[in-house]
């Protein structure tokens, strides 16, 4: 008798059980496949086009890295990264933009999260208005805000910071409000019974319970915002994206490759640091 006999005795029972569910799901599956085929048609998904594109993609990627000769590695690298000082500064500006936008958006989201939490809000009307406001701020992409803010505040990082901050406010406000709704109301009621006002309740009963979650969300949002800040410059809203867009538009392949590599490495490092801190805080809480 083979070693897997007991397992194979169980398998038919499970399979029969699954099959019953599967039959029910068949209609949904057909609907899903229909939707996918329709989407493929709408999006012009042609395998032939894809294969032809693969060649051109390889060509493009090859153009982005200049040849590095074995004997002259340092010279060739220096030639490739001829503008590294300027690019480094733009990356620092990009990080500053992400940091400031995260701080502004998080502060705003934190303030609004009390009114947007069902258990802490002052009334249903305020709750409804705050929720819709947060939804609006979250659902409009930051790049769209950026285009509008460039019109209002001019080209440069200010428009980018404000755009990312507004989007962050919406995202953080919702997540923070959900954390607020999951608290133990005991401490809040205890403080209220002891005569605390609303602010004291928030500060001493709500905040200690939600702070670990809030901090974790904030690091996560920072990772997202660093990515956003690298491309918000595509519409003129500051940071390394302005330079990257120009290099791409003007077919400066070497520069494009050099900048992309720097951006990818920076995001990589920030993600890693942020994730470590996030896990440490989650572990300490």
């Amino acid at each position: 008798m083979s070693g897997s006999a007991p397992a194979s005795r169980f398998a038919p029972l499970l399979i029969a059980e699954r099959r019953r569910g599967l039959r029910r799901g068949m209609t949904s599956l057909i609907a899903f496949l229909g939707a996918v085929l329709l989407a493929a048609e709408v999006a012009g998904f042609r395998p032939g086009l894809l294969l032809a594109g693969l060649d051109r993609l390889g060509e493009f990627l090859a153009l982005m890295a200049p040849p590095i000769r074995a004997g002259h590695v340092a010279e060739d690298l220096a030639g490739w990264y001829w503008n590294i000082g300027h690019w480094s500064w733009l990356l620092v500006e990009t990080l500053l933009m992400a940091l400031l936008a995260t701080a502004l958006g998080t502060a705003g989201g934190a303030l609004l999260s009390f009114a947007a939490a069902r258990n802490l809000t002052r009334g249903p009307r305020l709750y409804w208005v705050t929720r819709r406001l947060l939804e609006f701020a979250r659902a409009v992409p930051d790049l769209v805000f950026a285009i509008i803010f460039v019109f209002a505040f001019g080209l440069g990082p200010l428009a980018g910071v404000l755009a990312i901050a507004v989007h962050t406010l919406g995202a953080q406000g919702k997540l923070f409000a959900e954390a607020n709704e999951n608290i133990d109301m005991g401490p809040v009621l205890g403080l209220r019974a002891a005569g605390a006002d609303r602010h004291e309740e928030h500060l001493w009963a709500v905040l200690p319970q939600v702070l670990p979650n809030w901090i974790s969300f904030t690091f996560w949002r920072l990772e997202i915002n660093v990515r956003s800040a690298t491309i918000i410059g595509f519409v003129g809203a500051g940071g390394i994206g302005v330079e990257l867009y120009d290099a791409l538009r003007l077919n400066y392949y070497d520069d494009t490759g050099a900048i992309l590599l720097m951006v990818a490495l920076t995001v990589f490092v920030i993600d890693d640091l942020s994730e470590r801190l996030r896990l440490r805080i989650a572990g300490a809480a």
């Binding site: 083979s2 070693g3 897997s4 397992a7 169980f10 398998a11 569910g21 939707a35 996918v36 329709l38 989407a39 493929a40 709408v42 999006a43 012009g44 998904f45 042609r46 086009l49 894809l50 032809a52 594109g53 693969l54 051109r56 993609l57 493009f60 500006e93 500053l96 933009m97 940091l99 400031l100 701080a103 609006f136 659902a139 409009v140 992409p141 790049l143 769209v144 285009i147 509008i148 803010f149 019109f151 209002a152 505040f153 001019g154 440069g156 990082p157 200010l158 980018g160 910071v161 990515r227 956003s228 491309i231 595509f234 990257l244 992309l260 951006v263 990818a264 995001v267 990589f268 993600d271």
Partner: protein, 279 residues
């Protein structure tokens, strides 16, 4: 003991307890002070503190006023078609990404690939796909396959592979060890261990991660048109560029409606597939 004296004694004890907790905190305070300085510098540098911000506010109010009411309803068929294209891009990109991400996740998880060095390498591959924004990939793919939604689908798929491989592999690593060991003890081979011991545990997490990315990708798809990679973003950027504020706000409203619809469908599917399964 009089009431006042007892209150005073208890207050002193509370203060001592709180002070003890605060004593070890100076590195945190130093870090926060440094952060405050950096933020202040950033605020001055970008012009948030200064006339650039204040001067822009009336112009922003003007733009907002010009956006109301939404206009350009005669272009509605064109906008709706672009919106359908956007939704199709989000769906296809997510699906394509998920199909590639699943096998990659098996190589990224400690549980399914015990060779640490190799597993670490694969995880780094997934991370590097995530580290460039959709919009950058979109520009690259526009060069490869031309203007249009296909470039957008590919851009979404590439980032999706990175994100989902990470989320899937975390789900696999967080799975309980008991069920796979049970199947192994009952004589199951590697495929059976995975199919009956692992998959039932991770499938709900995998489905919810995929639905989450689908929502997120639909949002991303709305802006890829700005670089010519298909969808409603092209119309939006175009109308904003020529200061057609009314039409732009109509497009933004359509985007909001589409995003809500997808969130709603995703929440419904999540309830049906994840919570209501096997019912």
């Amino acid at each position: 003991m009089s009431g006042a004296a007892e209150i005073a004694a208890r207050q002193a004890r509370l203060a001592a307890l709180l002070a003890a907790g605060r004593r070890g905190r100076w590195p945190l305070r130093l870090a926060l002070a440094a952060l405050a300085l950096v933020l202040l510098y950033a605020a001055v540098h970008v012009g948030l503190i200064g006339s650039q911000f204040l001067d822009g506010l009336p112009r922003l109010a003007g733009a907002a006023a010009m956006m109301l009411p939404p206009a350009g309803f005669e272009h509605l068929p064109e906008f709706l078609w672009a919106l359908i294209e956007t939704i199709a891009m989000g769906l296809l990109g997510t699906l394509l990404g998920a199909l590639v991400a699943f096998p990659l996740a098996l190589l990224c998880a400690r549980t399914t690939l015990p060779l640490r060095l190799l597993q670490f390498g694969f995880r780094r591959v997934a991370d590097s796909l995530r580290s460039l924004d959709h919009l950058i990939w979109a520009i690259v793919f526009v060069r490869a396959v031309g203007l249009g939604p296909l470039a957008g689908v590919l851009a979404i798929a590439v980032v999706d592979v990175g994100n989902l491989a990470k989320l899937y592999s975390e789900a696999i690593d967080n799975a309980r060890r008991g069920p796979p060991e049970g199947v192994r003890a009952a004589g199951g081979d590697a495929a059976e261990v995975f199919r009956w011991g692992m998959l039932p545990q991770v499938l709900p997490n995998i489905l919810s991660a995929t639905l989450y990315m689908w929502e997120s990708n639909t949002r991303s798809a709305t802006i890829l048109g700005i670089v010519g990679a298909g969808g409603i973003g092209y119309q939006l950027a175009d109308r904003l560029r020529v200061y057609e504020w009314g039409q732009a706000s109509l497009i933004i409203l359509l985007i909001l409606a589409a995003v809500y619809a997808i969130d709603f469908i995703s929440a419904h599917l999540g309830r049906r597939l994840i919570e209501g399964r096997g019912g």
